[in-house]
């Protein structure tokens, strides 16, 4: 038991961090939730679509409504939420170094750390990729759904995973036309129900296709795409020019592991989940006893899985800190694991399930 009065510090107030903080606070543990943004919620507030899963995963509810629910709960519980607070260092003994409002710096002793720092969108470089009008899909989603600004009228989406397909749909909802969704692999990545609704709106999908270059004088005016062979090399003579003023890149995410590295968590390379990430055990504990990793930092998945991982860590940390008895911890952990497992089945989930198993094995070897 480490009930030494030092709080659990949760870094990142997205779906995973919010759920971790809520579980801790519900158990009576002191918790501080920090986020560099002015608003908590992470990516939830730009998710205007209805979520998948089942009732206990909040299926059918739109992402921003889930965000509102979690926020209301954290307020009701009276969690100490520190916004515009960037954590820039973690020193020995879990001393957290935070910068508030880009002006005030302080350190802070944490008893437990929960890293919920999320992931960063990958870029893709090609001739012309620095032209204005080229952005990540997440950026376009923030523009339309948070700031209500349409980045352009005709969009090319690069990448057919769920992010690319969902953002393509939302760009149309916001009033844009989507000229095409292209995918380097021979098969589309996103859920069939998502691609089907975009296809029926008349958007063509091109598989085994890449972007060759973007053209335009001051901003994007055209995109040149071409088919690629099995070695991902463009096939001459297959070039097509699309008149677009926006190119969105939805080519994967990479876990934001900087703080985990500074803290000294052992890393493992799992390409299916975004690259290098801290290894963790079944309770989301990293190679360090008192440091947990939850959500996209622990392998890029979805908001629904991130929330369950946050709960797992919050429950275990509450027990480790002496705020929950072992039986309650075990029961709650099993319930959470069952919900998580339900999300990691089928053709899409199985791959992630296997990859997550490797992360846990990597932690054991540590």
């Amino acid at each position: 038991m480490r009930n030494d009065g030092k709080p659990a510090v949760v870094i990142g107030a997205g779906p995973a961090g919010l759920c971790a903080a809520i579980e801790l606070k519900k158990a009576g543990a002191p918790v501080v939730l920090m986020d560099e943004n002015a608003k908590p919620g992470g990516q939830l507030f730009k998710q205007i679509h209805k979520f998948f899963g089942s009732q206990e995963h909040k299926a059918g509810i739109r992402g921003f409504d889930i965000g509102k629910e979690l926020l209301a709960e954290s307020l009701r519980l009276g969690i100490d939420v520190r916004l515009k607070t960037e954590v820039v260092g973690i020193e020995a003994g879990l001393k957290v170094w935070a910068v508030e409002d880009r002006s005030k710096s302080y350190t802070f002793d944490a008893g437990t750390l929960i890293l919920a720092t999320g992931a960063t969108e990958n870029a893709l470089s090609f001739p012309g990729w620095t032209l204005p009008g080229i952005m990540t899909a997440g950026c376009a989603q923030t523009l339309i759904n948070v700031h209500r600004v349409l980045p352009g009228q005709r969009v090319l989406m690069v990448g057919s995973g769920n992010v690319g397909v969902i953002v393509a749909y939302q760009l149309m909802q916001a009033g844009a036309q989507v000229a095409a969704v292209i995918e380097a692999l021979p098969r589309l990545g996103g859920y069939g129900v998502h691609t089907a609704k975009v296809r029926r709106a008349g958007v063509p999908f091109y598989c085994s296709t890449t972007i060759i270059r973007a053209e335009g004088r001051e901003s994007v005016e055209r995109a040149v795409i071409a088919s690629i062979d099995a070695k991902f090399q463009p096939i001459p003579g297959t070039e097509q020019t699309l008149d677009v003023d926006t190119i969105c890149l939805a080519v994967g995410l990479t876990p934001s592991i900087e703080l985990a590295c500074i803290a000294g968590c052992k890393q493992i390379y799992i390409p299916e989940l975004g690259g290098t990430m801290p290894a963790h055990d079944e309770f989301m504990r990293s190679s360090l006893e008192s440091v947990y990793v939850v959500g996209d930092i622990a392998g890029v998945e979805e908001a629904s899985t991130a929330m369950e991982e946050g709960r797992l860590a919050g429950i275990h940390a509450a027990w480790a800190m002496g705020y929950m008895d072992e039986t309650t911890m075990k029961t709650k952990t099993e319930e959470t694991k069952t919900r998580l497992k339900a999300l990691r089945q089928g053709v899409f989930g199985q791959k992630r399930f296997e990859a997550k198993k490797r992360i846990v094995e990597g932690r054991k070897e540590a």
């Binding site: 009732q55 149309m172 089907a196 609704k197 029926r200």
Partner: protein, 167 residues
């Protein structure tokens, strides 16, 4: 299960792919009050259609990646499951004489108005024929997914799935 080549390369399922998993309704099913059509042929973790149905007519079961199965004997064709599906994969189709009707989910602005002539589209987004809007419902419980009904010539009933967006 087949390779679902159409779904995984064009984005939308073919009639054969729907048929292969028992999700292609026949015109006979569509007679009278019509029938529910679910086009959800991939194992994804999802079951709000099952939860939404007051009759227990849709079964996903465990694991929740099972494909939804409709029990037509229990389904009253009430349409409550249409806006509940986050994949916008559910419609209701009916046929009578030379006319067909489709009730489908809709999340684009502007909404059409009752009586409007619209263009019916197939799963590949191709325009098939003219249609007429006969109803639009969007109560609070739909959580901003409207449900629209359009009428069109019966011969397009298997292919028609929605209407063209206007911009």
């Amino acid at each position: 299960m087949s390779a679902q080549q159409s779904l995984k390369t064009s984005g939308a399922p073919s009639l054969e792919e729907l048929k292969a998993v028992g999700q292609l309704a026949s015109e006979k099913d569509m007679e009278g009050r019509g029938c529910l059509c679910i086009e959800c042929i991939e194992e994804i973790p999802c079951n709000p259609c099952q939860t939404a149905c007051p009759q227990g007519a849709i079964t996903v079961g465990f694991p929740i990646t099972n494909l939804p199965v409709i029990d037509r004997a229990k389904c009253t064709v009430c349409g409550l499951c249409i806006p509940a599906c986050p994949g916008l994969a559910i419609t209701i189709k009916s046929v009578k004489d030379d006319t067909a009707r489709v009730r489908f989910p809709w999340e684009y602005l502007p909404f059409p108005a009752i009586g409007d002539t619209v263009r019916m589209v197939d799963r590949q987004g191709r325009e098939l024929c003219d249609g007429t809007i006969s109803s639009i419902t969007n109560p609070v419980r739909n959580n901003r997914t409207a449900v629209i009904t359009a009428e069109f010539p019966r011969k397009f009933v298997q292919d028609a799935i929605s209407i063209a967006r206007r911009s």
